[in-house]
Amino acid sequence: MVTDGLEELDFGTLSAFDLRGTPIELFTAGEGAPLLFLHGMDGLEGAAALLRVLAKDFKVFAPSHPGFGGSERPGDLDRVDDLGYFYLDLMDRLDLRQPIVVGSSFGGWVAAEILTKAPERAARLILLSPLGLPTADRREARVADIFMLPRAELDTRLGRSALAPADLSDERLRRAMRNDEALSLYGWTPYMHNPKLAGRLHRIACPTLIAWGAADALVAPAYRAVFAAALPDADTLLVEEAGHRLHADQPGEIAARIAAFAAR
């Protein structure tokens, strides 16, 4: 497994460890209260800007999800429901008894799966533009279909630059293709959600902050309202001048909000 060459993560340590036979990529940085960060569709490297600020206040643990980036995937792990159990094993292994848990986009879905299974395992939960609930009601879509959108439009909606194969190393391209493959594995159908999750969200007991970008071009307002209503103890926050990738669009403000919410 190659984990070097991610210069945007030069403020911490990128390493690999074996979790029950599966090599997992882990980025650690900073000192302070433990914080588990669960990345979104753009992978671990996509969250670098937010992690850099969070590392000033927290000891950040940021793994690549199985199948993403430099992390392998156990062959029978193919649902985000499975990822929930996988991360409980990972938290045991890293001795993360009750960290701050932050999940962005796809990672927000992962966070919800973990904490519906073991609600006691987080001191605070912060969900940034989380996925995981039904993305449509029959013909009425609430989350745009990333697999159907032209690449250029998807990049625009996510506020990111297009992949430029000519400028990227083999390893960078491989990471990008692995991220796409993993999103397809976990999110193709049913599209980016677990039909069982809504009925489990009441189990999340810790104080929760759920944040959305005011200019989110993937997730419709109706979806956001359903998510907030399903959580028993949630503050909601709408961040101006931010889209779906809150971690990339407003890293400073998001890190400050996380620090304040963690200290509450």
Partner: protein, 396 residues
């Protein structure tokens, strides 16, 4: 070499409007009465092929103006009854896009029984964009394909009591085909390849291997197949194991043949009209293949002309002939072009002939099929055949 008549059964009135021909094409552009008229016309042409002594191949696509056959076996169920002699080839059934492979086995058995044992069954990966219609999982696609294949074989060859199946992807409490196929142990199986590596695998299975519109690549596909076949069976395969698909435009004079070829060329230009985000769904191709494709660029997958340059989609008829995708001219011309291509590729026993394509009308199609059947087919039966061990070559 024997010939199989094939048409994609296009709804070609839709070709005139700009835009995608697949997936996102608005439905109001289809006049269902006109669609029915065209479908019946294509069936008439298949029946003519049967009368002329040609065999028959059908395919399927979904949400496409380029192909109105949405189920190989539905089309062949009609032809099973309405034809007398032709072998009936489904090429093919996109097995990993089917939710219920036991249902596929039932349909195969029914068509084989109806046709008196004339069915041949192609099991294909299918075009990547079909995943948007089937909505089956793109990841693990081939693992699912092979489990469905194993189940299909188990169902077709079962001679005794019903059986149950508990696999990773499919579960059946009880499986039993009524009727069961006439052809034992099962109808002949076909697969399609566009590389030596995949053909080698089919060679080991002994299934008939077809390559579509691949030009010079056909030679390495066939070589890979022979290598795999020899490895598994200890002797070279017969030519009947190998097939090549191309467009054939034949007429009494060259001018008419080229006019027909122009009408057929819209097959190529419309087949390419699909929005780019649908061509390679996330998770469908292996990561390493995607990395190589990104590095190689979009032209890498195009067939090549003899000068090594990629064949442009809007190339001339001469360009398409040069690349080995179209064979055009008088019966003598078409025979000579095919004999040369046959020699260059190391020989194949099945010509999958697009005898109707694009906007070629009924009268031209009838004349095309008739000329090929009467004046080209008899000569292709007796192509000079050098022994396989002379032209056999290993590939990397």
């Amino acid at each position: 070499m024997i010939i199989w008549q094939f048409t994609e059964q296009a709804y070609y009135p839709a070709f005139r409007e700009p835009g995608a021909m697949r997936i996102t094409l608005p439905q109001q552009r289809c006049d269902p009465v006109e669609a029915g008229r065209l479908l019946n016309r294509y069936l008439d042409e298949y029946m003519l092929a049967d009368e002329l002594g040609l065999n028959i191949m059908v395919n399927e696509h979904h949400a496409a103006a380029t192909c109105m056959s949405t189920s190989c076996l539905t089309t062949l169920a009609i032809l099973a009854r309405q034809t007398q002699r032709a072998r009936l080839l489904a090429l093919g059934i996109p097995l990993a896009n089917r939710a219920n492979p036991l249902r596929v086995a039932e349909e195969i058995a029914m068509v084989d029984a109806l046709s008196g044992g004339r069915l041949e069954v192609g099991l294909v990966k299918g075009a990547a964009y079909e995943l948007f219609m089937s909505n089956r999982q793109p990841t693990g696609f081939m693992e699912r394909f092979w489990e469905a294949h194993d189940l299909l074989l188990a169902a077709m060859t079962n001679q005794g009591d019903p059986f149950s199946w508990a696999g990773k992807h499919f579960h059946y409490r009880t499986a039993s085909l009524w009727p069961r196929p006439i052809q034992q142990p099962h109808p002949p199986l076909w697969m399609t390849a566009s590389s030596a590596a995949s053909a080698r695998g089919y060679g080991k299975l002994g299934y008939t291997c077809a390559t579509f519109l691949s030009g010079a690549v056909a030679r390495s596909v066939f070589s890979g197949y022979r290598e795999g076949y020899v490895e598994a069976f200890g002797h070279p395969p017969g030519l009947d194991r190998l097939a090549y698909l191309a467009v054939i435009a034949c007429a009494g004079d060259r001018e008419t043949a080229f006019r027909r070829a122009e009408a057929m060329k819209s097959y190529f230009t419309t087949a390419a009209r699909v929005d780019p985000q649908f061509r390679n769904p996330w998770g469908f191709s292996p990561v390493e293949a995607n990395v190589r494709m990104l590095q190689a660029g979009p032209a890498a997958m195009r067939p090549r002309m003899r000068n090594g340059k990629p064949l442009p989609v809007d190339g001339s008829i001469e360009d398409y002939m040069d690349a080995g995708l179209m064979f055009v001219g008088t019966p003598d011309d078409v025979y000579e072009q095919l004999a040369r291509f046959n020699e260059e590729t190391g020989g194949f026993g099945n010509l999958l002939m697009m005898g109707q394509a694009g906007e070629l009308d009924h009268a031209d199609t009838v004349d095309n099929l008739t000329l090929v059947a009467r004046e080209v087919a008899p000569r292709l039966l007796n192509l000079p055949d050098r022994p396989l061990d002379v032209r056999y070559e290993a590939v990397g």
